[in-house]
Symmetry: C3
Subunit: 277 residues, 3 copies
């Protein structure tokens, strides 16, 4: 697991088409971060075309941030088609627990679609794991955050969920957890400013889409690469803020800048990955 940074270079070389069915709040950020990471975004979301679009794609990302009944059907159709074509599918269960629409859609998606990766914040993943976490809009509830204190327990929960779903489970936060059925890692990159802009979580899922699209046979490494890439980009953006003295608008721009300038060696060098289980 030393060379996961190289997967970003594979993204750059292959330019995988990442089909995203996502929310209208951060869709532009997602398209731009996919391009910055080296992928090629396509955001088609009508049920009448998503199966054909999946057929042109290297990965599929389903993000339920502004779910509606129209796109819920598109997500299901696209997910099934991706499964049939063996294209990896990433789920970002934004706001899981916040409404029956989200919960029922997630239940259907998780029953009907085989996910390669499920990435959520701690509230969302805990909800999917059966915990009755209190959803507070789309942000993680304080009480559920992964910390040094609950790292082992969080890893165990994620690994149990891997076993139940067959998916790599990613819990994003100050410390990210990446778990597969036989092991788990903590990734400690990132910067608190990432929570001050909208879309950092959605962009992370989009970058996961790039990495699993480029390396579908190495899903755990692809996920580690994606989490380190976003985290390191977030750190570089924060460092560069010092020079310009900006606020959250500037930070958002610098985050895209940093991702577009990253390379595999930088990730391997700066990535803070710890094997925890």
């Amino acid at each position: 697991m030393e060379c996961f940074g190289e997967i970003l270079d594979m993204v750059r070389r292959q330019s995988p088409v990442v089909h995203s069915i996502t929310n209208y709040v951060t869709v532009n950020d997602c398209a731009n971060i996919i391009l910055a990471a080296g992928g090629s975004p396509i955001m088609a979301d009508d049920a009448a075309e998503v199966e054909q679009i999946v057929g042109l794609s290297s990965s599929l990302v389903l993000n339920i941030g502004t779910l509606n009944t129209r796109t819920a059907a598109s997500m299901l159709a696209a997910g099934k088609r991706a499964n049939a074509l063996n294209i990896p599918v990433v789920l970002d269960p934004v706001g899981a627990g916040a409404s029956s629409l989200r919960n029922e859609t997630l239940r259907t998606l998780m029953r009907e679609v085989r996910f390669a990766v499920i990435k959520g914040n701690s509230s969302e993943i805990r909800f999917l794991a059966g915990d009755k976490a209190t959803a507070r809009g789309v942000d993680a509830d304080e009480g559920t955050l992964v910390s040094e204190d609950n790292l082992a327990a969080s890893a165990r929960m994620a690994m149990d969920m891997c076993a139940a779903t067959g998916a790599i489970i990613i819990i994003s936060g100050r410390i990210d957890i990446v778990a597969h059925p036989k092991g788990a890692w903590a990734v400690s990159n990132g910067d608190p400013l990432m929570t001050r802009i909208t879309g950092a979580g959605c962009m992370t899922a989009a970058v996961v889409g790039c990495c699993v699209g480029a390396a579908p046979a190495e899903l755990p490494q692809a996920c580690l690469c994606a989490m380190c890439s976003m985290g390191v980009a977030g750190e570089i953006a924060a460092e560069n803020m010092g020079a310009v003295g900006g606020g959250t608008g500037t930070y958002r721009t610098l985050l895209l800048d940093a991702m577009s300038s990253l390379d595999g060696p930088a990730i391997t060098c700066r990535g803070k990955v710890q094997h925890i289980a």
Copy 2:
């Protein structure tokens, strides 16, 4: 009414969840300005979930910028639910007068939902007040703008509309008017560059949502705080443009930067608020 600047500090401390049902043009800007002001945005817009999402929120903002029949129904359901829960509802009647769909939807919303605040440009507010203003797309018609010359008449119109609707009325423009049934203020902050980017008006409504969410018992002060915050942020962004020599793309970034760096004392100090009625 001296300490309205403190309401921004309340937003920062409480981080109110602001539920926005809004247009797809500026939704990302709205989410980012809510975060920059210290709130927590959620943009759910499906009729199947908006009532539950409202229940998690501190305020609701309805913006008809790219209204469609699907979201019109969501706005009505969310508005009624917010009323039942005593959560303040803000209306941004974008493009009022421009189409029958907008006009009929506004008529329904104003009949069925009790608004805490209605904020529009001069054309939109005049249209709602019964004036047959000529709508020119989504921008205010020159002839309807609030100026020093028509300040008293504009305040009177706004106060009449307060009496008729029970809502605080905000007319945004070079000079903003904030009117409640017993008085009116003019706010003279802001910068002409705000009209050169999309979304300044929508972002203003989003910030109103933050302030009324944090201080629902002090609606006039919350509205003054929001208008001054946006205006002062717009001024600071323009001042900082001088240093970097940018255009409208940079201005947009600097506007978010300025909002994320504002605090209550800065608003109290720089706010140009005049009691006019």
Copy 3:
């Protein structure tokens, strides 16, 4: 054809309302570039209002980037109404060839609506011309790009398509082709960084909308003005990147900056237009 740069000054003076029915990925960029170019954007997309909104507008831009069955109907209704009112209609056939939904919608639109301008990348235009180009998501296929080697053949294809459709045909790329039934030009402005951000193509169509809205009687010149404006803005943004050392996030900001600062003389001076047929 010397003074096409002046059309940008006409846009600035007239501020044409540009009605866009477009995708949710880049709609904010489109609205901001329209404002930066001097126009006034309105993005209404519900079938219940598009005909009335077209009636307030100077031009209509139809962009099928995230087409759905709801907006396909809106595009058809708006296009027909624009024809009846003699308002120029611009088509951006994003992802033509990628799905049956897109192809059938394009077939219907091209049969029912008279387009003033059709602007696409080489894959899209070749597809519309009857070539079975391989669509790769929404980006042009390498093999179809316009280059010095196939310039004459590309111009001929575009002119044939002009004759068949009655529209000005624009093929965007490293070298753009602008063709009308009796002649064709190559525009060699632009910068490779434009392909590293999402929306450069959509923004180009939006600027075409501004220019044809301001000069509907001079369509070829308006198209040349638009293509040179975007290309020169892209070059200036790239030059200014040198000073700040940014990545793609900064480039996107600088592109809007450059467009907002352009004037007719700059375009006339820097525009690289070559009469090729």
